[in-house]
């Protein structure tokens, strides 16, 4: 593939690249960061990246909301003019899931802070070894 081909691949499919980069940022934060809150943020970025991926695959250029008025009833609807609503609906659920996960994670982080007086992983592990 030529250089132009590569550039084309990146530009034409930019939504995928964005989600991949975001996902990698999230994963990196979860693996490399030593602070638990930063890890939790990384986790949220990871989940958001996937939500973005779903939403982006539903869009179409020049299409509008899939809402039909009374006068449309019984008429033929051109699929090219409306975007696919299903991924959005799915992602509503996924957002709820990610909020719930975030909530549990933060609650656990609080519990950890109460026990060890820190959120830095190295210090926590030192405390665990001590006890």
């Amino acid at each position: 593939m030529t250089t132009a081909g590569y550039i084309n691949l990146i530009i034409a499919k930019y939504n995928y690249w964005i989600y991949i980069v975001l996902m990698c940022i999230g994963l990196w934060a979860m693996i490399a960061k030593r602070n638990l809150i930063k890890k939790i943020i990384g986790m949220n970025i990871l989940q958001t990246a996937i939500i973005l991926f779903y939403v982006s695959i539903a869009t179409k250029k020049g299409a509008t909301l899939p809402i039909l008025g009374h006068h449309d009833a019984g008429h033929f609807v051109d699929y090219a003019t409306v975007i696919n609503p299903l991924p959005h609906v799915l992602m509503l659920t996924a957002i709820v899931v990610s909020v719930a996960t975030l909530g549990v994670a933060l609650a656990l982080a609080m519990k950890i802070y109460n026990r060890y007086d820190t959120l830095e992983e190295d210090e926590i592990h030192a405390r665990v070894r001590e006890s």
Binding site: M30, K39, I57, V104, I124
Partner: protein, 496 residues
């Protein structure tokens, strides 16, 4: 009524969870019976569905009468009917057995514990029964989130272990969601049967390959396949004992079921086993995982941590067996889902009995336990023999199919790994039995032996434990029927 079993199965514990959460503070005494009733209802529905499947064959239930692929369908076939009955039984038995341990471990918070317990069960049953790939994700997260909370309820370092579990679990579930996204992208549907019928036309597509590999990797993480097992030992050993004996049998086995479901009924088996190098690599990874986890189990100093590693090795059994891709090996993997759930329940109930009576389960505490807690030791011994693979316990028969399948596939690596793991299990369990049998040393010819108080668990704990132990033998003796009537029908005829 019986037509609505599939939804009743999930809704009964879900609704009961809500009610329990509401009345938790005012009427804590009502919570355990209510939970028991809900789970009994689930077990009843599961059994009813199994009977119906056996009599009439697979059927599907359209939620809210919305026909698939638009609506969500719950599909019941031989595969999930079998696993459902096993899982519902495990959840109910554990609920009954750990009643007293819950009362002492979670004083004042029992209601919330039972609410989470039921949510976890509702999610698990939903995963097992659903025929919709995205619905599965949602239920997976319901199960996982209540699982995180349950693990986090434990003492000491439980919160840390649980947060680690949250991280690993979320990555796993997100990967699954991503895989489903790619599947949706290429097929335009989320209904499993629909995807299955569309996929054969798309075998050449790289998107399908990506979806397959990403979703499976996510599942491997959730099921703690070595080397993605990092979260499991801490999460299981830090959790309170009633939680441990719930999530240990249910979580990993449910994920194995999802893997089987995806591999046989979402992706066509031909694609799963032959199209990529993936299957061959996974079998070797599983074999290596069995060996490594077994070796790691040897170096543990408490019963539950040892068992956590044994459990990781067992995951390797099922993954290895399934990806061999021949009928005998897949039979072994499916059979082992049921058998391993029963065995895991049995050992962890015994561990729970130790922690409840002796406040600890380190090997040093177990000295003289054959005298102190004879019946609990009988339960542990039965489960141990089953994990070693001694006939007529059920562990032997799943090993029979797994090794037989590996022989059929000429995969000597997996054969060796399975035998090795049996030998290591023998060492592991006999080390425990030895400690419980000999120490503290006594002079046999002296009348006064060091006094060890009799510390057996109360009968309400013992009776269900002994029932489970007997069930291990019963399951073993029923192997022939389970295989011919249920598992044979659960595996597509194309697989030889």
């Amino acid at each position: 009524m019986s037509a609505h079993y599939p939804i009743f199965l999930v809704v009964a514990p879900l609704m009961a969870a809500l009610v329990i959460a509401i009345i938790a503070r005012e009427r804590p005494g009502l919570c355990p019976p209510l939970a028991a009733i809900a789970l009994t209802a689930s077990l009843w529905s599961a059994a009813g569905m199994l009977c119906r499947v056996l009599a009439e064959g697979p059927f599907s239930y359209h939620i809210g009468n919305w026909p698939p692929p638009m609506g969500i369908a719950y599909e019941v076939d031989h595969l999930n009917a079998l696993v459902l009955v096993a899982m519902a039984a495990v959840a109910l038995i554990n609920l009954i057995t750990t009643r007293q341990a819950v009362a002492s471990d979670f004083t004042g918070r029992e209601g919330y514990f039972y609410a989470l317990y039921l949510l976890f069960c509702a999610g698990t049953f939903g995963i097992l029964v659903t025929g919709d790939a995205f619905n599965l994700y949602v239920l997976l997260e319901i199960t996982s989130i209540s699982g995180y909370a349950l693990v986090g309820l434990g003492h000491r370092d439980a919160a840390l272990a649980s947060l680690n579990y949250v991280f690993m679990g979320t990555i796993g579930a997100s990967l699954y969601l991503l895989g489903v996204g790619y599947l949706y992208l290429i097929t335009g549907t989320l209904n499993m049967a629909d995807i299955f019928s569309i996929l054969p036309r798309l075998f050449g597509s790289k998107v399908v390959v990506a979806a397959f590999v990403i979703a499976m990797t996510g599942l491997f993480m959730k099921m703690a396949l070595f080397p993605l097992h990092g979260w499991l030992p801490n999460a299981y050993s830090e959790a309170a004992s009633p939680v441990r004996s719930l999530i240990a049998p249910l979580t990993t086995k449910t994920m194995i079921y999802v893997m089987v479901r995806l591999g046989l009924y979402v992706f066509p088996p031909d694609f799963t086993f032959n199209h990529l190098l993936f299957a061959k690599v996974v079998v070797w990874v599983a074999a290596a995982g069995i060996v490594c986890a077994s070796v790691l189990a040897l170096s543990q100093t408490s019963l539950r941590r040892m068992l956590a590693y044994v459990l990781i090795a067992e995951v390797g059994y099922m993954v290895g067996g399934f990806w061999l891709g021949n009928r005998m090996a897949i039979t072994g993997a499916i059979l082992h889902i049921v058998n391993d759930a029963a065995m895991t329940l049995c050992v962890f109930l015994a561990v729970g009995s130790f922690t409840h009576q002796l406040r600890d389960d380190r090997f040093a505490t177990l000295k003289g336990c054959f005298r102190r807690m004879p019946w609990t030791m009988v339960v542990l011994a039965t489960a141990g023999l089953s994990m070693i693979g001694v006939p007529p316990t059920c562990g032997f028969f799943s090993k029979w199919y797994l090794i037989g399948g590996a022989l059929t596939a000429d995969h000597w690596g997996l054969v060796a790994a399975l035998i090795f793991s049996s030998l290591v299990n023998a060492v592991l369990f006999f080390r425990v039995f030895e400690i419980a049998y000999y120490e503290p040393f006594a002079d046999p010819h002296q009348e006064h032996r060091p006094a060890l108080s009799y510390a057996e668990a109360p009968a309400t704990m013992l009776a269900p434990m002994l029932f489970t132990a007997a069930g291990l033998v019963g399951l073993g003796l029923l192997t022939g029927r389970i295989v011919t009537h249920i598992i044979d029908a659960a595996i597509p005829a194309a697989i030889l």
